[in-house]
Symmetry: C2
């Protein structure tokens, strides 16, 4: 049974455990600062498939396979697979899950799919509706470039503001088991639209949504930023990260000394091609499933907020000259206690 | 607190009420057999907007406005909006909800979005995670034709197998209130792929997924088809409806004398342009929100299964020559008791 706090926040009264996780990434991520935290690195962009879309599905399948292996489970043990990606009609997820025979649904929330899937999964687990859920999110640099910008073979020059879509997938197992990191609360965000129309500056488009949901959670729960070891946003990158800190400062909320962003962590920001940071559903999913989960399991992170952000544009809405509405979903997470 | 039955089914122990609903449709639907059951009919395909996509968002907004009005509620009373449509990156939903300031997420499950949204919403309500949820699904003939087939101005001839995408939206309010139809159980479906590649024959592609989830629910719950006044599929149309009955007969399950399909009900099937029936998220959403909800409220339907079906193709997967994987999600619903 969950309890509602304030207008937007859901607090769980029972334990919802992040039982385990796995992540698989591409070459650039595998050569980046978090190299050692990924379960598998694929150096071929096609991962042996005929299309990039099929390759993205393989990233998801491999992440699912890895996390099941860690817990000695089979697909038959899983009650629901909640998945998300950036592709039209979520085909990366559909073609990944179709051979697994697991009840399934996809969510669309752009790059915030990781936190959204975990939030919905947490409600299902706490309610007893499912015993074991798997939540997966992915993106692939080559599928995203073709769909949202230009096919890679055009050789277009990228703008300095543009973040690099992460090639990667993260998979998480949720259950009611005790000895694991826990999801304590969820705040589903609202769509925010600040009339930004530049699809190469998505960090700026998403920062207001992140600021809004962080503020909503803190108001609803009465908690303060300094209660958390880490306030982690999804993929605001260099520009959006500065902006979310500023926007919250205007509201009297200072997260500057405990904020980090998955998009700032996954690539070497000295490298021109990823200078503005990483993005994509696979960014927060693979950073959280790898680097962050290790720190939660070891107890190095005792309490954190994870706020994944999504830019809700489509190629059609861009071609029609519309703005980029954005959203962010937030999880309050507790690390394993070692006492 | 929900109870799991068998492998796939979630049974609610507390009441989850379909408090009220509303539906708004286009001209062809408004001139069809269910004309009197819709709250609003728009005779202009653009509904006064510049694009068909914006018109589809208006359908959703109007359905939300209507259902709130019926219950004398404001957007501020709603804890979560769960939405779904067929468009790339769910933009119909995003641009509909962005002015409402309601916490929100979108699901993607093609035409099964209506049942999926209600299923997830029901878990959130039963768990106490939200008090009032609104679930909305929409489609628009003109946005779907352009995206999945050809822009209308090409004047392409449609094949006799092809169903007509419904221009319509349905909105439902979920709460724990007593005196209303109830969602008693949910079965989230599995992705099924029978290697059908013809995007003009989606009823055939979706029928196996519908058969699979109906069979799963009956097995999990130990119930029989004759316990239900109605077993309603989403949008299998003429071809898929025959097929789902046959597929279940092969499994020893006879639903033939209580099966109907929203895609068979919404259009005049004598009319050449809709001879194979209706389809789209808006098909099951508007038929269920209008015609079926009336019968549930009056008690004419005492117990039914609602199984919305979705074809999980994308233009990209079609162009790559891939099959059309499908899915269906099922709700067990109880009408208002008059004794």
């Amino acid at each position: 049974m969950a309890k509602r706090l304030g207008k937007q926040t859901i607090v769980f009264e029972k334990d919802v455990a992040l039982l385990n996780s796995a992540c698989c990434v591409g070459k650039d991520e595998g050569n980046g600062p978090l190299a050692k935290t990924f379960d598998k690195v694929f150096y071929d962009e096609y991962i042996g498939q005929k299309t990039y879309e099929a390759a993205e599905s393989v990233l998801q399948k491999e992440a699912i396979g890895e996390v099941l292996k860690k817990e000695n489970l089979t697909p038959n043990d899983i009650d629901i697979a909640i998945m998300g990606d950036l592709l039209d009609q979520s085909i990366a997820s559909t073609f990944a899950i179709k051979d697994f025979s697991i009840p399934h649904f996809s969510v669309f929330s752009a790059c915030s799919a990781s936190a959204l899937g975990l939030g919905i999964g947490a409600v299902l687990v706490e309610n007893g509706a499912v015993n074991l859920a798997i939540c997966v999110a992915s993106s692939h640099f080559c599928t995203a470039e073709r769909q949202f910008r230009f096919p890679l073979n055009y050789g277009s020059k990228r703008t300095p503001n543009s973040q690099r879509t992460v090639t990667g997938a993260g998979a998480f197992l949720l259950s009611s088991q005790k000895n694991a990191p826990k999801i304590r609360a969820v705040t589903f965000g609202k769509v925010k639209d600040y009339d930004i129309t530049d699809a190469n500056n998505m960090g700026a488009a998403m920062a207001p949504a992140a600021a809004d949901v962080i503020k909503a959670f803190l108001q609803d729960s009465g908690k303060k930023p300094d209660e958390y070891d880490l306030i982690l946003t999804g993929d605001l990158g260099v520009i959006g990260s500065k902006l979310v800190i500023k926007l919250l400062q205007k509201e009297g909320i200072d997260i500057s000394n405990r904020h980090d962003d998955c998009g700032l962590m996954i690539f070497d920001l000295e490298d021109e091609k990823s200078a503005a940071g990483g993005s994509g559903c696979g960014c927060s999913a693979s950073v959280f499933a790898g680097h962050i989960m290790r720190k939660l399991k070891s107890g190095e992170i005792k309490k954190m907020l994870f706020c994944a952000t999504g830019a809700l544009l489509s190629p059609t809405s861009q071609n029609q000259g519309l703005s980029i509405p954005s959203i962010a979903h937030l999880l309050e997470i507790e690390g394993v206690k070692n006492d």
